[in-house]
């Protein structure tokens, strides 16, 4: 009783609520149309986000890296010490990490494994260890990939040999993930002094703050080293993964737009269903609305009452739809990214909001015509039936 009393303060809301309650089946079916529309629009939107995150995580942390190696017009077979110093002098706000690389066969306890060897000083910036540690100045120890360690039965503290020199394993790293150098092959990381017989650096990795900064750095370096007057030449090959990321992103954005378009169409279908339901129910109630008008209820109030009905339908369908989409989204994130809570991030959760907002908007829009028609019907005609 008190709830109804409170609702009477908002007569449009009260009347709308009671009217929807009169034909529950019809209300439920109309709302179901909206639910399906919202689920379509939100879950397709979230699918796009999940795919994007999966692609990004495959590229790994590489997107903020710039890789420099000797270009085809270089006089040397690598990046020289002088060039490294030059890079350092131009790029002051990013880590510049020169590396030498080779490959070798590592053996232990009768087992052998073919690994790529990287000589680097700042191992901490380049590698994430799964156990042990990667020192900022690698001088005596070594890092080895998990898979190789497992293959050879090596553990932290065990020695490995390269070029007649023994190194103690200080950390284990993940390998084979992402598109990084070495691909699926095992990797051995040793101090740069271990590769002293190679005069030049094979590559220089520059770690920028983010993808945009990486792109900027690669452009700066390209311009500095590879432009001689008006001629283009390639002294240094400068590449960043940011552009790969951009390509993938633009593809995914297109995909997402297409998915949202499909979702949008289903919501348009749903609003046509609402239009139909609202039109039917106002035609059925023509006499009743005539009575309202006869006893002095204003046209605007009749209009508001019917628009409120449409709004309630949209809100109801939108809420249920958002709830269902949340479940669908969590399942999707579990399958694609492997983490159902990913759905709660704003990047994907916002599609729940978009779906809900679109549902309410579409419902109100489809309520306008029936409401206008009912409000402007002549009371005499309406009462005659």
């Amino acid at each position: 009783m008190s709830v109804a009393d409170a609702l009477w303060r908002f007569p449009s809301a009260m009347m709308a609520w009671r009217n929807l309650g009169r034909n529950r089946m019809r209300t439920a079916l109309a709302a179901l149309g909206i639910v399906i529309g919202v689920v379509a629009i939100s879950s397709l939107g979230m699918a796009g986000v999940a795919l994007q995150q999966q692609a990004t995580s495959n590229l790994g942390s590489l997107t903020n890296q710039v890789s420099v190696s000797a270009g085809q017009d270089s006089d040397y077979d690598g990046v020289t010490e002088d060039q490294v110093e030059e890079i350092r002098s131009i790029i002051t706000d990013a880590e510049v990490i020169p590396q030498k690389s080779n490959s070798t066969t590592v053996s232990s306890r009768g087992q052998e494994a073919y690994v790529s060897v990287t000589g680097v000083t700042n191992a901490a910036a380049l590698y994430d260890v799964t156990s042990g540690e990667a020192p900022e100045r690698l001088q005596t120890g070594a890092l080895i990939s998990n898979s190789t360690a497992r293959e050879l039965g090596l553990e932290l503290g065990d020695p490995v040999e390269y070029d007649g020199q023994l190194y103690r394993i200080t950390g284990l790293i993940d390998s084979g993930s992402g598109f990084g150098p070495g691909g699926g092959r095992g990797e051995l990381v040793i101090p740069i002094s271990g590769l002293a017989d190679q005069e030049h650096y094979d590559s220089v990795t520059i770690i920028a703050a983010d993808g945009d900064a990486a792109t900027e750095i690669s452009e700066t370096l390209d311009e500095h080293f590879n432009t001689d007057g008006r001629d283009e030449e390639e002294i240094l090959r400068v590449s960043s993964y940011a552009s790969a990321q951009e390509n993938i992103n633009s593809f995914l954005n297109t995909l997402q737009l297409a998915l949202l378009g499909i979702g949008g169409i289903s919501l348009v279908v749903a609003s046509v269903a609402i239009l139909n339901v609202m039109l039917m129910s106002t035609v059925e109630r023509r006499g009743e609305i005539g009575v309202l008008r006869a006893v002095g209820i204003r046209r605007g109030e009749v209009l508001r009452m019917i628009l409120t009905e449409a709004t309630f339908l949209g809100t109801l369908g939108g809420l249920v739809g958002a709830g269902c989409s949340l479940v669908v989204g969590a399942v999707m994130f579990q399958l694609v990214v492997g983490d159902p809570t990913g759905v709660l991030q704003w990047a994907s959760a916002r599609y729940l909001l978009y779906g809900f907002a679109f549902a309410v908007f579409a419902s109100v829009l489809s309520g306008i015509y029936p409401a206008w028609k009912a409000a402007n019907d002549s009371p005499v005609e309406a009462l005659r039936g």
Binding site: N19, A294, V295, G296, I297, V380, L383
Partner: protein, 221 residues
Amino acid sequence: MSVIELDDVVKRYESGAQTVTALKGVDFHADRGEMVTIIGPSGSGKSTMLNMIGLLDTPTEGTVHLDGRNVTGFTEDELTEERRTTLGFVFQDFHLLPMLSAVENVELPSVWDTSVDRRDRAIDLLKRVGLGDRLDHTPDELSGGQQQRVAIARSLINGPDILLMDEPTGNLDQDTGRTILEEVTRLKEEENIAVVAVTHDEQMLDYTDRTVRIVDGVIQS
């Protein structure tokens, strides 16, 4: 002074090539505390005339005065305002809203106004028509006579000057019709309102102060 007055009102309906003249120059008035009954054969223009008096429809020619004010040129929104504040309606088939309780139905015409005591007034009106124990019943839980009494209470919620009834006893049996008419007569005196009724019901003439006869859109006598 008459609370409602029609002067030389003509109402024509144009439907395609045909033109029906439902009212052919009708003069009419009603005073406070008076019950006027309009009688006449079917299709003679009774309902059309009541729609003019009730400001539900506008005349093709002629003028309508409400409380001495000429309301002939009023817009639909102004007429709606007059209907809410000055007029009460009772229909042959009650026309209560099925999803609202008795007391909510009575409140309905005032519910979009923010007056504070309308719930009390609605309960008071229902008590006065003998339905004090049926406040929360919905129309389908009420008999025809009870529904018509709810409709009468609804017509009085805004304190009208005129009560309009189109065949109020048309769907009721004789005895129920009689109690409804007694109710209306009592309320007419208590509230000092004009009652204008259209009927085929002979017994209504026992309660009326004045009878107006219309035949083919023309007032007789």
